[in-house]
Amino acid sequence: MTETLVLRTNEGIDPQLHIWGWDVAGYLFLGGLVAGLLFFIGLHMRRSGARRALPTSVRWGAVAAPLLLGAGMFLLFLDLDLKLHVWRFYTAFRWTSPMSWGSWILLLVFPLMLVQVLLIAPESIRSLLVRAAPASWAASMAERGWNVVASLSILTGVALGIYTGILLGASVARPLWSSAALGPLFLASGISGAAALLALLERDHAARAWFTRADVWALGAELALIGAFFVGHATSTRCHIEAIQLFLGGAYTAPFWGLVVVVGVAAPLLLEWLELRGRVVVSAAVPVLVLVGGLALRYVIVAAGQAAGVGGDAPLNTFF
């Protein structure tokens, strides 16, 4: 038997790492949601063709996206311990740092989202904005590049969604996060959340059914990626196997399987599938379940990831 005693009591580090909390989880959730919105906005822009006929929810989604991303970036700002140094993110580009990539990607996504607002926002908002001469000029320029804006929207949506997972996955010191499945999982969750949000906003029955169908596919993909996440850990190194035990009888078992898998994925997937087959009429509560599940996924992964280390630094008074 081995007993390890560490005489260190650094706040936020001991007895267990806890440096990122609800604000980072909230940012990852909102970032994923915006990624999904960009994906669907781009997809519908491409599908709309020359008629420019877009579902109302997509038009409102274009308005919501920059606001949601702004809220996410504010949460990230709240997490900084030296807030006055925030400008330092934009005086350097560190290609080895996912956070550096992310800070620049977030900055570059905003102009695209503003162009989308000028192009496809509901007329009540668009008419207010294009009244100004520069905005009117930008809108007419963007109109010519409709398909380019649409394609860029899909590409940046996918990149942003995967990035939110890579941000955590790049940390080799935290084996629970160190998984190739985390980026695609967060992307699938973001697309699912956006589909749920758009279904919630949509009043047209056919368009709502389209988003429900899209959500069923995204939730199915999310379930498969959760499986891949588990298989990847269970067949990896000892520290990965130990890390995944946090969800298999460990401290985060109940929130993960209860909130994330059952409430956030399995139940909505079943109800939406039954709705598409005409068996049940799904209420607005189902998209809300999807959104709650998306937020819970980020929170549980962020919290549990900090509870698992790679060894060589045993927590206080550990027997093993």
């Binding site: 007993e3 311990d81 560190r94 010191a173």
Partner: protein, 177 residues
């Protein structure tokens, strides 16, 4: 030149002089420590053995904390020392999450703090405070690239290991057993 530290776990008696010297030299805030002791007891009574490890930042050759820093605040300077430039640090904690040794913490002033191998002393040709204060001379500091240095001689002549080699970070604190 590559600075490294060699710590003899046979000589170490766990007196905490290195911890106290570091806190005094670097004025670390109350409740925080840049170095610490880890006691490892193995075996079954009455056949027990204990090793004491004086631990700190390993100033890795391949430091994920530096790779993950988005602003360049975490950086490698002369002799391979890993330091934090407070003026560039945003307190985002990406480096804290990346360090497999949990050797970093957020200073109450907001920036990330860690062992620097007392770089301000090393630049004057002095040993780090922990090495200087060790009453059993269990700690040795020097240039591991120089085959004639004391650290190189110790690494060659004794059984040596590093903490958590599987991390792939190439840590530069060596333990003699």
């Amino acid at each position: 030149m590559r600075y490294a530290m060699v710590i003899d776990t046979v000589r170490c008696v766990g007196c905490n002089a290195c911890v106290v010297a570091c806190k005094t030299e670097n004025d670390t805030p109350e409740g925080f420590a840049r170095d610490w002791l880890r006691y490892v007891v193995t075996g079954t009574f009455p056949d027990l053995s204990r090793e004491i490890y004086s631990e700190r930042c390993n100033h890795c050759d391949n430091p994920p904390s530096v790779h993950n820093c988005p602003t360049g605040a975490s950086q490698i300077v002369e002799g391979g020392l890993v330091v934090v430039d407070r003026s560039k640090c945003t307190g985002c904690k990406a480096c804290v999450a990346s360090c497999p040794y949990n050797a970093r913490y957020v200073h109450p002033d907001g920036h990330v703090d860690k062992c620097t191998f007392c770089i301000h002393r090393v630049r004057k040709g002095l040993d780090p405070a922990c090495v200087e204060s060790c009453p059993t001379e269990a700690m040795t500091f020097g240039d591991v690239d120089d085959p004639d240095s004391e650290v190189s001689r110790l690494i060659r002549s004794r059984k040596v290991h590093v903490n958590n080699p599987a991390s792939g970070c190439d840590p530069q604190v060596y333990y003699l057993t």
